[in-house]
Symmetry: D3
């Protein structure tokens, strides 16, 4: 169960409205790596988790904080929109290019659909979608996804920090960036703990028997581009991070197979087949039809 307290985790008020910036801020609210994504991702990881205890407590503990971050961003956006102009176009644009420019930079659905309110969309107006989250049941894979989410999120927030000089907005971003610092560290620590405890290991999933994989290519770097410097990385010649092999470097594939012959599905799918077969095809077609009578 979830309970709401009518308070925010941090002050979220801009010094002044800025409808253009409100649109940009939507990215970290409703974008691929916005707060809705991490909130939902951690919740679904919790609901699907196969183990009670510290890892489940961890994902639930942070999931709830993240809904609160959605809330801080939504209230910030509503305030940034408070003086959103109606945006009369036509002659007005001729008269005042600045007003026109502002209109051009806004999410026009903020005005038309939400009446100057926040929306569950990204900075280009694409709706948030369930396809953004990751909750696989394998904690090592998922904590990797979580660390990535917090890295992309902090990166976007850092970029947004430089796109405004509003003190109030920057204060909120400095808070969110700090929490992203925490959460990056936290998921990396949790991933390390899983491995130390022997619960999961590399490669993920670690208990798929490696005898069943085609081991000859498990640690080969195969270069399918002609850039030669890929051979200089540690992925070309050193022991592998999973501690189970050594990288080797190869120009192009070390295996190959001929393309299989084309398929010939039922002729009633009306696909085009080999020309030499056209006559047989017609005959086959006739036979099919007899059969379907």
């Amino acid at each position: 169960m979830f309970f709401h307290r009518q308070e925010l985790q941090f002050k979220s008020t801009p010094d002044q409205p800025d409808a253009v910036y409100a649109r940009k801020l939507q990215e970290v609210l409703g974008g691929q790596y916005g707060e809705i994504t991490v909130a939902m991702q951690y919740m679904f990881q919790g609901w699907n988790m196969h183990t009670p205890g510290k890892y489940r407590d961890l994902v639930f503990g942070i999931a709830s904080e993240e809904i609160g971050h959605v809330e801080m961003l939504a209230t910030m956006i509503a305030q940034l929109l408070e003086k959103a102009p109606l945006g009369i176009t036509g002659d007005a644009v001729q008269a005042d290019p600045t007003v026109a420019a502002v209109i051009g930079g806004t999410d026009v659905q903020h005005a038309i659909v939400a009446g100057a309110g926040a929306r569950p969309v990204d900075s280009m107006g694409n709706p948030w979608q369930g396809g953004f989250i990751t909750a696989s049941g394998n904690l090592l894979a998922d904590f990797q996804a979580n660390a990535n989410g917090e890295m992309q999120g902090r990166l976007q927030a850092a970029r947004l920090y430089h796109m405004t000089d509003d003190k109030g907005v920057r204060d909120l971003l400095s808070f969110l960036i700090a929490r992203d610092t925490m959460h990056q560290n936290m998921w990396l620590a949790a991933a390390a703990e899983l491995q130390e405890e022997g619960a999961e290991n590399l490669p993920v999933p670690s208990n798929f028997p490696q005898s069943k994989e085609h081991g000859a290519v498990s640690y080969q770097y195969l270069n399918f581009s002609d850039g030669p410097r890929a051979a200089d990385g540690r992925w070309a010649s050193e022991p592998t991070p999973d501690g189970k092999g050594e990288f080797s470097y190869h120009e192009g594939p070390t295996t190959s197979a001929p393309m299989p012959p084309p398929t010939h599905p039922d002729s009633r799918f009306y696909g085009t087949t080999e020309l030499p077969n056209v006559v047989e095809k017609i005959a086959g077609r006739a036979q099919d039809l007899l059969n379907t009578e």
Copy 2:
């Protein structure tokens, strides 16, 4: 530029057709973490990269291999579909539940739309979409995303391995799983190399000045759920992975702020406002209208 060779990297032929399994295999072709995703992700990372040399050669080298994996899966799927039944329903279903069951398990667009061919969709028929990829320009963040992609991908391939006993399909999967082993290791090695060389560090992005973040909460675990065992993890009391702090544990938030007062946008957005203000609202409305004459 890309060049195609009419050969596959590995043999991709099933022992026998299986239209139900063909649909499942779509997940690792066109799903969130399928081969189209990694191919596109690495290509866009290459095109957007700000540095020549080994990292760019790396992403191009692997990107091209991954398009070849798309190809192997697509040709495998077409072969699995080769004997796809037309799937006559009606009386036939009554007569043969096995046929009916098969129909129920297939992607019916395989038959109706593609004439027994592969499609750029996932195992539930959702089209692949650009929103699945990550290419931020920051290599440490993106290599984390890549490692996650290969982990989720290997996990799904391992699950799919157990969902068939077709030797030909399992051979292909054992090859793809081995390459995922390589690619997981490779991206983790590349992420490590970036940090050793001092090009990037934690937290991402490492050159955003930490003095600008709200440092008080940068290493605090804040527990917003009532599960007590989150305090037992190393994210609650040990040095942080970025080497810059020490985790501390707190029940709930360490900061708070009152919710800001509601906003009052232009009355011509027709939002509902406070009831005591109804009279003024009507007056304001009247004034607005006079202004718009």
Copy 3:
């Protein structure tokens, strides 16, 4: 069957072109509550309806009018776009910020994709989609959805009215707003008639036996936030609109249950399980593998 007459229901010509406004007008053409939505919604309600007679005649009668509204908006948009600038950027932007501002405010696909024509998208360029409509087969629920559609639609049209001072555009909007007035009233009247005739009642669906619902909580207001004033509404203490109960007010839930223990699916899904079980897990894994040989 549908027949087209090359006439419009109302004059739809702007006084002057305005490519920025054309983009905004897309919202009521192709947005969540645009005319395509209501046209499609009423048509599908008609095709799925289980009763002949006045209700079916009603939805067909209005559905056809709404396609005509799509037409009026599309022709209006095409005219607003008639002088759409090519929008040369580069030096031109430096030279004339007004031109640049206009470009910024437009739907650039209007120019690039449609050659200055209308498109089936909303004001942020998201394509119209079937997921916007509601046609459940239950008329009381659906007439409620219809009334909502007309309310949101009239609200958006009213906002758009204030975003232009073009007389021709305002004339069209004043016509559409009037029809929305009619349609709001009409669906509310139809919903009332359904209830008077006893065909449907509250709560929807009214013939699901209420004995089968967990009646103890059917009329309880449960407050999961800490705002105390929710207790002041008529939803906290008065007879309920369905005439079958009386509202009561409660702080938080009146029921609760422990979270069920975590699930343990087949180990071949490679989910992470409890740590104490790791040994057993490996053993189980071994057993599974033996079984799959």
Copy 4:
């Protein structure tokens, strides 16, 4: 801020696993009218609200409950999936049509992507999306949307009730259905209260000056289909629900206008124009080209 308690509002455990039903239950979790939709819808209404007090407390109070309903459904789905078969196809299908049938009825991403866990998608696997919610800033319109959401939701839950005979699942549904009963009544009561207090009225938005709408058609039923019985409804001849007019009935439109002449955008959009103009078009094209040198 949101706080999580590791308890459920109601017992959510099936008597036995049922992977096919798990997929169906996704509809009320992640569908157009599922619990994610109402949770998000009420939250955004709260964040965008222009008035403090009982209405804001109301939406926050219920929003938080609804996230808890998402949680109950997600944990139920995970349990229904606990014995989800790996679903080996091929020979197995031939051998056991029942197993095959089960596979056909499941969401295969439950197994492949989530490792037997719940997902933020509907019963056909479409991801939940932000485009499902409504939060316009106008409370009368939005409470109408909320009532509709609860009606469609209760209708779907009632249908799902009959699709299983599992006692545990039915218990949960009977609880959710009861809460939907409450929430339908509650939003209708809140909508009524808004009107009694004079905060909002019909038609929505009530303070758009009706003098600005094309009043002649504001209460006319215009029949664009040939079904005559639409004239029998109270929407054809009685006083209107907004108390401001009287319905009248008309066969077809009472207004019309000629279609405006076709538009002629800049010739560099390469649209096809009138044939008699081909010569001029070529000349114009030449002129344009001269201009662009």
Copy 5:
């Protein structure tokens, strides 16, 4: 304006219900090339057309017919669903695999969402979307798109014809297939007429001055795969269909250029740059920060 007549263009009643087939039929109602697509496509082409007269009359004439086809399919689907089972799973599946198989093959939203009615989705449940249509303003391009739409549509209908032996369904399909025959011929005739009249020609758009294209490669077949037989086609050595050139065949590209050097955007985007530049990067970063104080 559009007017509806409560009659169908052709009899649309199945001999018996078949919920599995109902789902398949959704493809030609709401799929990429379903009837909604062609109806919408022709309407938007009409509304955006720059010429009055026969071509506009043509697109409007057919657009309206196509909405009627949507209607025939929707009513057919509703009838196919009339006896749709509730689909009780659990023990029932064990008892009767045939029932289970049927459930597996259905669109479960037909039952849960639409109460046994048609929906604006394709056969895998993806919603119809505006991104499916084409209306560019250039009639030759668009008639080509239309011919393609009718070809894909007829192909799918032909496949569907073989997936049922229901006489009523086959009758409807034989009617729709006949109309697709007409419409394929019609659009090809219209495309030919445009060229004969000199209104448009190949290549589209024909009045873009070919002097401005890089003419050296305008008629070269460049082979980027290693299949040698592409040299055997008439696209390798004969006069081109536009009558303006002659095809020539080349192994691989005839032009090439070095990849441009990597870009170096503002350092505040935090992209990773060349390693030798790390020192300068930090210095630059410091300078940026001074500038932003």
Copy 6:
């Protein structure tokens, strides 16, 4: 297999950055008819093809070239974005409308998400999606789709040509336009060759037995709009392009059928039925309930 060469097919460097134009150029990279679409479309046609030889070599040969076009556009876009402003809004907008205008015209995700890099989206920011491609297995239909794709693509590139005066960008476009000229001609030639060889014919699919279509309407023009001039086209009275019939012209439908009676699904779907039946409905409902005990 695919191999990458770190070279471009043509020089792709702008004379100067232009972030607004970068966004427009996304259309031909990631839009409905952008280069990703044609690359993917031709690849899937190749993988699904039922015939070896020249047609398969053809689609693979061009598919690979098209990925290289994606690459040229992506590198061009990255360079156009190189000086993308951070876009500080707030006071800055007031001070410099030109800067503001530029911001308004950009894809803000270019900056926030990709750090000044290209993305797999169209010019309005909608992600590329698998639903854009066509690969049906029938080559005549698909080559028609391909010709359409190249026509729409060349049309969009021609429009984009006029939207910039940057010499470098225009050079790239003149190259791409020339390749589109080639590809239009090529697909039309290939379609002609298919017909000459007798592999496929009109109408598509040509081997569906025309005796099974409702031949009476196969060549009738049925006018559902009131524009009389559709009778003037060659589609109204001449021999049909498939050489099998002669067009005839008819005002409206030549066939009709009454609408089928409404359906009556299981009452537990809770649809609304005829009012005279309400009593029976309740009785039926009671019976159902007895049955479900």
